[in-house]
């Protein structure tokens, strides 16, 4: 896999969410109080308190019946607006998709990747514009046609209206998605060449932590860079003491297959500094190490299957084939003798051929447990797309309560696009550790520094005066003022960065399935659920607040 899945930091994210939402709420409340005082004078605080009380009252007296009725109305309205026409585009796309996916000579793994990516991407990119338009135009149209005025004079409350709208559009979006998901699944099964169908699986890996030893046998953070532009993979030199060491946790008899073998799958890369024997690939060797007792059992030599990866079935009973003079000829049980009491197993990997190099990253070696059927991971990925659809609906409905349809569409579209394409860049400017870590991983560096060159004004200044980012600015009041303003702007950018949703989690689900893996709950599904939930409350409140303070008669 070309990315390194890490568990979603739940507690840290929740605390950050509280901080951002709390700060934003405080800002809104303070601004509202000042606006009320400015409008009605000394009675301001009383009016403000009454309004706040009424809002809390609305919150506690929600009627599920009314919400459901509004949701039903929204669904019918969406169908009347021909939202389901998206199926026609979907059908046309899938009818002719075969024209564009015709590389049947490729290895089966690649074909699966291409077909699955196409289907999931097509679903995402078809459904998102539909729900975005629906969500952004519903409430503004109600206001324009004054049907909103009729609704809010009925017992239905504004809060129920917002939730009802969100619920209704969610129902439309999820229905469309469910149909597309099922059709897409059927299409993959039908269209995928027969030779590649065996690759439609969901691997369940146990991933370990990776450390390295250098050619002298000393611990090091990473291996050698052999000149790759993307330095995600590190290389170890053959026939030296260099090792890549994985430590797996949670290993026990339950990870063995039906025949009692331990399945180790790798995606190692090979780099040759000389031609060597071209009839075979480069040799590597596993050595199993018990982290408690330090018992070591080298395993037989294997060749790298670059580009495809290989699964090695390690028999539970290991025969020590010897590591120079340490041969003892004994037999070892991989679970009983090699795994520590707390379920840890260490696997050392060495490159055997002198002058050749073996490349790897953390996800490139894992213990493969029993595979799940393909639909399991596929529908999890579809569910993640569903959560993304909900998120867009929440944002769209919320935005549409305070601006008109076209503006709401444009604003929501921009939020989605910026979140997709520029969020990481913003993260590097504001120095967010997660964004920096991601950038470091992308470039293969251990750490990535915050972007140099200062904020907007400082950057402009540097460009005009041809100063590179490392040159010190001349000391003086103008520099101080410039940097002060820049700090304010960067802090504002920090807030925007925090407010923008992280769409990476949603796209990651696709990568898992396309690469033949199950979508991990802790690092992907949970993250998608949490991000969606995190936006639900604030979006509802923002929508409600906007509708409450808005003059509904105004078109």
């Amino acid at each position: 896999m070309n990315f390194d899945p890490v568990p979603f930091p739940l507690l840290q994210s929740f605390l950050l969410w509280l901080l951002v939402v709390g700060s934003a709420t405080c800002i809104v409340l303070v601004v509202s109080l000042i606006a009320t005082i400015a409008t009605v004078g000394a009675r301001g605080p009383v009016v403000f308190a009454n309004e706040l009380g009424a809002m809390v009252g609305d919150l506690v007296s929600l009627s599920p019946r009314r919400i459901f009725a509004l949701a039903q109305l929204t669904f019918r309205e969406a169908v009347r607006r021909k939202a389901l026409m998206v199926f026609v585009v979907f059908a046309i796309l899938f009818m002719f998709a075969g024209w564009f996916l015709s590389s049947s000579n490729l290895a089966p793994e690649f074909q699966v990747k291409v077909y699955v990516s196409f289907v999931l991407r097509a679903i995402s990119w078809l459904i998102l514009p539909v729900v975005l338009l629906l969500a952004c135009w519903g409430i503004p149209e109600d206001i324009r046609l004054r049907s909103m005025h009729t609704v809010v004079t009925k017992p239905a409350r504004r809060l129920e209206l917002v939730i009802g709208r969100m619920l209704g559009y969610s129902f439309v979006g999820l229905t469309v998605l469910a149909v597309m998901g099922v059709v897409g699944w059927g299409w993959i099964n039908r269209q995928l060449p027969e030779s590649a169908k065996s690759q439609l699986i969901c691997r369940q890996p146990i991933r370990g932590e990776l450390t390295f030893l250098d050619r002298e046998g000393n611990p090091t953070k990473e291996g050698i860079n052999v000149g790759d532009i993307w330095m995600f993979h590190s290389f170890i030199e053959g026939a030296t003491k260099a090792r890549a060491i994985w430590t797996f946790e949670g290993v026990g008899p339950h990870v063995l297959d039906n025949e009692g073998n331990l399945l180790l799958e790798n995606r190692f890369q090979a780099f040759r500094s000389h031609k060597g024997d071209m009839r075979r690939s480069i040799y590597f060797q596993y050595t199993f190490v018990n982290p408690e007792t330090n018992a070591r059992v080298p395993y037989q030599l294997k060749t790298v299957d670059e580009g495809r990866g290989r699964t090695d079935r390690i028999n539970r009973t290991l025969l020590n084939i010897g590591e120079s003079s340490k041969t003892d000829g004994k037999k070892y049980d991989i679970i009983d003798d090699m795994v520590s009491k707390d379920g840890r197993l260490t696997v050392e990997v060495a490159c055997v051929d002198p002058g050749q190099y073996l490349g790897m990253a953390r996800p490139d070696l894992f213990v493969r447990t029993a595979d799940l059927p393909f639909y399991y991971g596929y529908f999890k990925a579809v569910a993640c797309i569903g959560l993304m659809v909900l998120l867009v609906i929440f944002m769209g409905v919320s935005v549409s309560t305070f601006v008109k349809g076209p503006v709401a569409t444009f604003l929501t579209f921009c939020v989605v696009i910026v979140s997709y394409g520029a969020r990481d860049f913003m993260g590097r400017i504001v120095g967010d550790p997660i964004a920096l870590q991601k950038a470091a991983q992308y470039s293969g560096l251990q750490e990535m520094k915050k972007l140099e060159g200062g904020g907007v004004l400082e950057s402009i200044y540097r460009i005009l005066w041809h100063m590179n980012p490392t040159t010190e600015l001349p000391a003086g009041p103008s520099t101080t003022i410039m940097q002060f303003i820049d700090t304010g702007l960067v802090n504002f950018l920090w807030l925007v960065y925090r407010i923008l949703p992280n769409f990476d989690y949603f796209s990651e689900s696709l990568l898992y399935v396309a690469n033949g893996f199950d979508v991990r709950f802790d690092s992907c599904v949970l993250a998608c659920i949490m991000v969606t939930l995190a936006y639900f409350g604030p979006c509802v409140l923002l929508g409600y607040f906007a509708l409450r303070v808005r003059e509904l008669e105004a078109k």
Binding site: N2, S103, F110, D228, I229, Q269, R272, K275, D277, G307
Partner: protein, 472 residues
């Protein structure tokens, strides 16, 4: 207009539409296939060869894609190029292949796009793989990709030349040449059942001969449209060069390939193997010589006779052939200065194309003695590996023949390949004598060359030993 009723307004609109349709129909009337048929636009398209179908085969999927993009082709192409670059860096080959296909659907007549991506697949992506069969797969992908480019752009000499380069130097000259050449007629992919990949090799010809055909097609296309790759005099040398490369490859790889092809899955006894070895050697001896004869013919009578218009000095354009007789020089040069200038131009262009070297080599290799010398050396090396006494006989035979060739073509003394082979013959003979515990006599054929080139003998010995080790 405001006084008109709705119905009247609709009639006015209809009238205006019909009025505008008249010139559109008149100008854009389609052609019926006969010359000068159709409207003005259609005639101009025919005249200037601008029709999509004039450029090459039509691609409905690409056309559909372009229509669906509603004029955003440029933006989409840019995004795809960026994706392709990232996929290449991330070694995401499956996705890269699909992205490449999408790019050419958007830019089917942009020759450089085909060139760049074809090169990328055949050279860069193939080199990223460790297993040789995988590398060959990507070489084929690059070749097939470029052939699709030729189908879409039939008039481009550049693309045809690039296809020729994949079949010729990429397969025949890379480090993996001995594997690639075998895979060319015995694909490693099990789906081809030990046969060639018909999409890439649909004949039983040698890769160099297929390359020769493509280079010849490139030359034919170049007669009508300009090529943009290199100097014209070099560009047009490739068909003849492929024939010479073919002859050289027959000697270098031919024996093993032919022998294994003959043996197939059979198990041979020692006698049968020996008999087959001799038969294959004899067959190849004549086949290789014939290939050199044809190569010489191609080089001197076809390529050498081509007329090139070259700018010898700034502003001075001269007409010349690489193979020019003295009287032709005089008649084309006209004045003494012109003759001198032309002679210098011919000399410089001959040097630039290594023309004289290939002429001498082809001439010398066409001689039966030289062919005999090569194959005697080959047999000597094979027999030395088996430590057979025949090694000595073959080596001595080879040395004698090489000396004879050197007497006839003394300029070969400065030609690296010839010198290396001649010295290898002496080396094998020496090594065998050492094996037998004998000392070389005072006088032996090629002695003067052996003594003169002592500095390079250790390197030749190292190479010989390495080749003996990797004899697969």
């Amino acid at each position: 207009m405001n006084n008109l009723t709705s119905q009247q307004r609709k009639f006015v609109y209809l009238g205006a539409i019909l009025l505008l349709l008249i010139p559109i129909i008149w100008l854009g009337m389609p052609a019926d296939g006969t010359p000068n048929s159709g409207g003005m636009i259609s005639r101009l398209r025919q005249e200037l060869d601008l029709g999509e179908s004039d450029l090459g085969d039509l691609d409905p999927s690409g056309a559909a894609m372009n229509l669906a993009l509603l004029g955003l082709r440029g933006v989409a192409a840019n995004i795809l190029w960026m994706q392709a670059d990232e996929q290449k860096n991330h070694k995401d080959w499956g996705e890269l292949r699909v992205t490449t296909d999408s790019i050419i659907r958007l830019q089917p007549h942009y020759v450089k796009v085909w060139e760049y991506n074809g090169w990328n697949l055949a050279y860069n992506v193939s080199a990223e793989w460790d297993a040789v069969p995988d590398r060959y797969f990507w070489v084929k992908e690059g070749g097939k990709f470029l052939q699709r480019g030729v189908e879409r752009n039939r008039r481009s000499p550049d693309l045809k030349w690039h296809v020729g380069r994949i079949y010729g130097p990429k397969i025949g000259l890379s480090d993996e040449a001995r594997f690639f050449r075998r895979f060319f007629y015995q694909d490693p992919d099990p789906q081809y059942d030990k046969g060639p990949d018909p999409e890439f090799n649909n004949s039983s010809e040698d890769n160099y001969l297929v390359a020769k055909r493509w280079f010849q097609e490139a030359n034919d296309a170049e007669s009508k449209a300009r090529q943009t790759i290199m100097d014209r005099s070099i560009f047009r040398s490739y068909p003849a060069r492929s024939q010479l490369d073919y002859a050289a490859a027959l000697y270098k790889f031919g024996f093993k390939e032919e022998y294994d092809r003959e043996v197939g899955d059979r198990k041979l006894t020692d006698e049968e193997a020996k008999a087959l070895e001799i038969r294959v050697r004899e067959k190849l001896k004549e086949q290789t010589r014939q290939a050199w004869v044809l190569g010489l013919d191609d080089w001197t009578k076809r390529y050498g006779q081509e007329l090139f218009s070259v700018e010898y000095l700034p502003g001075i354009i001269v007409q010349m052939r690489l193979e020019m007789a003295e009287d032709e020089l005089r008649s084309l040069g006209k004045t003494p200065e012109g003759i001198a200038q032309l002679r210098r131009a011919v000399d410089q262009y001959q040097k630039m194309n290594n023309y004289r070297y290939w002429r001498t080599r082809a001439l010398c290799e066409s001689e039966p003695e030289t062919a005999e010398a090569h194959w005697a050396l080959f047999a000597a090396s094979e027999e030395y590996r088996k430590q057979s006494p025949a090694a000595r006989t073959f080596a001595e035979q080879s040395m004698a023949l090489f000396e004879k060739t050197l007497e006839k073509y003394p300029e070969l003394k400065d030609e690296d390949n010839f010198v290396e082979e001649a010295l290898t013959a002496v080396l094998v003979w020496n090594l065998y004598l050492r094996l037998e515990g004998e000392k070389p006599p005072e006088m032996f054929p090629l002695k003067s060359l052996w003594d003169e080139k002592q500095a390079i003998v250790p390197e030749i010995e190292r190479r010989f030993e390495r080749d003996s080790r990797t004899n697969y």
